[in-house]
Subunit: 208 residues, 2 copies
């Protein structure tokens, strides 16, 4: 594996391991050895993106992570380039497909959480270990990445209040329907800094 | 004005005239004099985009037109960069805000076309001369720009079948409602070329 990072013929390293370790260590070595890096690893970018970007800059290589949030939808680059002159005040997003499927089934068909989850797993929407999805952790990683870009500051996963969907009951959906509401896992980040001064944001509220 | 194009201190020309002439002539001169160009002029880009891009390339300058379609939404750059490796088979878009407002009012409030148009003009959504919007010409320009990017070929406004909304009557909306349909001005482009060979697309169907 050592030769891999020092091989001069290799210009770009694409990381598809997923998870924090050992992906983070490999990405750091690749950047330190002057390799461009492409990754879809939302956990690593959400937790260590600032550090990795600094490392990339130091070694004059690129670090691209477009597929870490909303795989098929260009989001990262538009935030970095086309929208960079905008002052973005908030992000409100349905950002996790698995939980959105589960919530739709619970609301529309009246099934309970575990049945909806089993069906999502049968269809291949949910992982065998669905914890990151149903506890909102996946959404938290994605929101940390998007909010960091949108607000041009460092938003860490631990800065985000996180509440999953696993404790929702069919009764919650009955109440919601009676009141005319829908239940969704929303990723919300709002910026309330002083845009006139150069001071850091006064507060940054984000939740999943 | 001549000095403007030859002044060495000027690097970038931003065109905000609108319409085909004299904007096209100015843009050509700016590019020929080695100035980067930024424009939101959908008519000029739809009709003469290929020629202007070639001119820009020849003089090693940039031609950017992100705001020519969907001003606030990054669309052009995502098509040019992030989505460029994709094979896009079709575009289906509600692409003109003025007509969408008019159609919504006609469907929801049962008002006739001219009342809905007057209201749109009062609110500043429609131009004093609304012809380009209501006859689908604005949508045709935008679709020509998007389809050219998406299919990586040259789609001209005259290649697009264009039908506006000015002849719709309240009765059309009654029928649509009875049948469970909505009436929308859709910009549609579908690609049906042979993706395996290097030959040009066999057919390209686009309509507004």
């Amino acid at each position: 594996a050592d030769e891999f990072f020092t091989e001069p013929e290799i210009d770009i390293v694409v990381e598809v391991i997923g998870g924090e370790s050992p992906a983070l260590q490999y990405l750091k070595r690749a950047l330190s050895c002057g390799k461009h890096v492409v990754t879809a690893n939302k956990e690593v970018i959400a937790k260590h993106g600032a550090e990795l970007l600094a490392l990339a800059q130091q070694h004059k290589v690129g670090l691209r992570y477009e597929a870490s949030v909303g795989g098929g939808i260009p989001l990262i680059a538009p935030f970095q380039y086309e929208l960079v002159a905008n002052k973005i005040n908030g992000i409100y997003a349905i950002i996790n497909g698995t939980t959105n499927y589960i919530l739709t089934r619970m609301a529309r068909d009246g099934v309970d959480f575990s049945s909806a989850l089993s069906r999502a797993q049968e269809l291949g929407y949910a992982e065998a270990n669905p914890r990151d999805d149903v506890e909102g952790i996946d959404a938290t990683y994605k929101l940390a990445i998007l909010a960091s870009l949108a607000f041009q500051s460092q938003v860490r996963p631990e800065d985000i209040h996180c509440e999953g969907i696993s404790r929702l009951s069919t009764r919650d959906f009955q109440y919601a329907r009676e009141l005319g509401f829908a239940i969704k896992l929303l990723a919300i980040a709002t910026f309330s800094g002083d845009s006139q001064s150069k001071s850091p944001p006064l507060s940054l509220v984000a939740s999943c």
